[in-house]
């Protein structure tokens, strides 16, 4: 096991099991082949060919598309293809910042293989012994990756919320970080990946922030999503990343990016270039 395995885990290069789908001629997502075939049952919404899937052109507004695709998502839930329903809408656009083409229930996002966005915060303190990173452990009842190690603050980006507003909201809920402190978080880049996750294609872009915290600050979870927080040296963090899958799959690349940017990993680190290239999926 090595650090670079944590990145490769979040990388899907063989797309042969998926079919692209488009809205108004713009590629919007990737469907597993069996899901694409299932969409033939909804000919008023989707036009399915052996190569591509497209939304029927009469669905020519945001609201029409949202309603029609939402109904299909409900049907896929009843068929057991979509798992769970979170009543949380994600905006779907061809690219970040483009006008959204429709909204989609969060639980259906991986089934439709559309891009989703999130915000991750590296909470750290500077000590005489060097930088230390706050690491959370996810509660055992979380639907995704229970018990895994996590950033101090992380969350999906619901439709309509800008990344900083979302960060402030999540910082309060997940770590009892006040808005004044949360606003000091600095954007430091983004990672994006395309991976196979529970049988579907996840295509996530995470906006990454660094937040330097006072040495005497201790995060406290208020929404039950994090079991506990620990302050770890970067050597300890690196050792855990190298030797285990204890970090949540998409938190590991965020933390590796932190280790790179803060000079904790150097050119002597095995696979340094691949680690520093990071995850940059289209």
């Amino acid at each position: 096991m090595s650090l670079v395995d944590r990145l490769r885990h979040c990388s899907l290069t063989d797309l042969s099991g998926f079919r692209p789908w488009a809205v108004e001629g713009r590629e919007i997502g990737w469907l597993r082949l069996d899901v694409a075939e299932t969409l033939r049952r909804f000919p008023s919404v989707f036009l399915v060919t052996d190569e591509t899937v497209s939304v029927q052109p009469h669905l020519d507004t945001f609201d029409y598309r949202s309603a029609a695709i939402g109904e299909v998502a409900r049907a896929l839930l009843e068929m057991g293809i979509v798992h769970g329903w979170r009543s949380e809408a994600f905006a779907v656009a061809a690219q970040y910042g483009d006008e959204p083409l429709f909204r989609l229930e969060r639980a259906a996002v991986p089934v439709f293989g559309v891009k989703a966005y999130g915000v991750h915060v590296n909470g750290y303190v500077r000590t005489p012994a060097g930088i230390k990173l706050w690491v959370g452990r996810r509660a055992d009842n979380r639907p995704i990756e229970p018990g895994k190690l996590d950033n101090i603050v992380a969350g999906g980006l619901p439709y309509g919320l800008d990344p900083l507003r979302n960060l402030i909201k999540e910082a309060e809920e997940e770590a009892a970080i006040s808005e004044d402190v949360a606003r000091q978080a600095r954007p430091v880049g983004a990672i994006s990946y395309r991976m196979l996750h529970e049988g579907f294609m996840r295509r996530d872009t995470l906006f990454v922030y660094d937040l330097e915290l006072p040495v005497d600050f201790h995060p406290a979870n208020t929404d039950g999503e994090i079991a506990d927080f620990r302050l770890m040296s970067l050597d300890e963090v690196t050792a855990i990343l190298e030797s285990s899958e204890a970090f949540k799959f998409n938190v590991a690349p965020v933390v590796i990016d932190f280790l790179i940017r803060h000079g904790h990993l150097t050119a002597e680190t095995p696979d340094y270039v691949e680690l520093a290239m990071g995850l940059r999926a289209p």
Binding site: T61, S66, R103, D162
Partner: protein, 323 residues
């Protein structure tokens, strides 16, 4: 969330089961106030048209690209090169690193005599498929763009923390430099030849270009990499550069010792950003390193136009064929 202005377009069809019906699309606008995009820097060169090139192979390893109109010169050396329709490879009889390097050196000396290898440097660069991959051959630095091989370099951002914000040391290149005279550069940086570690090269360049004492230069921290693939005047530049941040004392004044830098200026990072938005005064690769600096230090964020395109554009994978 920005308000919507197209509710009037929504037809009166009943929208059933739509989650969060209060949510409406926002429309992306480029207002007159929005600053010019930093993407201008990434767009200074057209994307490389690889159809104009033959792949350059050592054994079965793809390590570079030779312009089709340069290949006829290589045909004069049939014991060194084998030319095919879509690739040019080193002669299979050249099996060792030393044999390849000697044969290539002899060819380049001859081509240099014909005026085809401008700017001979007398520095050897490794040729291979990546930084942590085996060196398959050594090659004169000036010839690397002729063969489109991957070369490496180090960039040192000279930074000063002040109460009113981050400041950046910028160098203006000497008017006598062979490449990019008079253009804006960073505190120190340079190509990465064989036989010296990145960290030692940082210390060496910091001293030669900016007079930074070794004990300060050693505090430079590796922070990121950038890649470039451009058709420059000297040929196809395929580069991977290692970026370092070096925080300098407020009273430190860089001074050039090798005649390569005309002057140094300490600029507020915001002034540097304004220059990147509106001018091409920075060398291309340095502009990339500076955009990387702006991203890492939070001077721009997700609300910056083209933020994700900038993040992705700094580190395009090198397009070698897979092995």
């Amino acid at each position: 969330m920005r308000s919507t202005d197209n509710n009037n377009d929504v037809k009166s069809r009943v929208v059933k089961r739509a989650a969060s019906p209060e949510i409406r699309p926002s429309r992306r606008r480029s207002s007159p106030q929005s600053p010019p995009s930093l993407l201008r820097q990434l767009q200074r060169y057209a994307p490389v048209d690889y159809r104009r090139y033959l792949r350059f192979l050592i054994g079965d390893q793809h390590v570079g690209w030779v312009r089709r109109d340069f290949a006829p010169h290589l045909a004069d050396f049939p014991t060194t090169f084998v030319l095919n329709a879509d690739d040019v490879s080193l002669h299979p009889a050249l099996v060792s690193v030393d044999a390849r390097s000697e044969a290539m050196a002899a060819v380049l000396t001859e081509l240099h005599g014909r005026g085809l290898v401008p700017g001979w440097r007398g520095e050897l660069y490794p040729v291979g498929r990546g930084f942590d991959q085996p060196c398959l051959m050594r090659m004169e630095r000036a010839a690397t763009p002729l063969f489109g091989v991957l070369s490496y370099g180090v960039n040192v951002n000279g930074l000063v923390r002040r109460d009113d914000g981050l400041q950046v040391w910028i160098g203006r290149r000497s008017p006598h430099k062979q490449v990019d005279p008079n253009m804006l550069d960073l505190l120190a940086g340079g190509g990465q030849p064989l036989g010296i570690s990145l960290a030692d090269n940082v210390v060496k360049e910091c001293w030669e270009e900016a007079g930074v004492p070794a004990e300060i230069a050693r505090q430079a921290q590796p922070v990121s990499i950038i890649t470039l693939q451009i058709e420059a005047a000297e040929g196809l530049r395929v580069g991977l550069q290692f970026n370092y941040d070096l925080f300098l004392p407020r009273d430190f004044q860089p001074r050039n010792t090798d005649g390569e830098v005309a002057e140094f200026m300490l600029l507020p990072v915001t002034a540097m950003m304004a220059q990147l938005r509106t001018t091409d005064d920075f060398m291309y690769d340095i502009a990339l390193a500076k955009i990387d600096l702006l991203i890492r230090h939070g001077l721009i964020g997700p609300s910056e136009p083209d933020y994700l395109a900038l993040v992705a554009g700094l580190r395009h994978p090198i397009a070698f064929d897979p092995t």
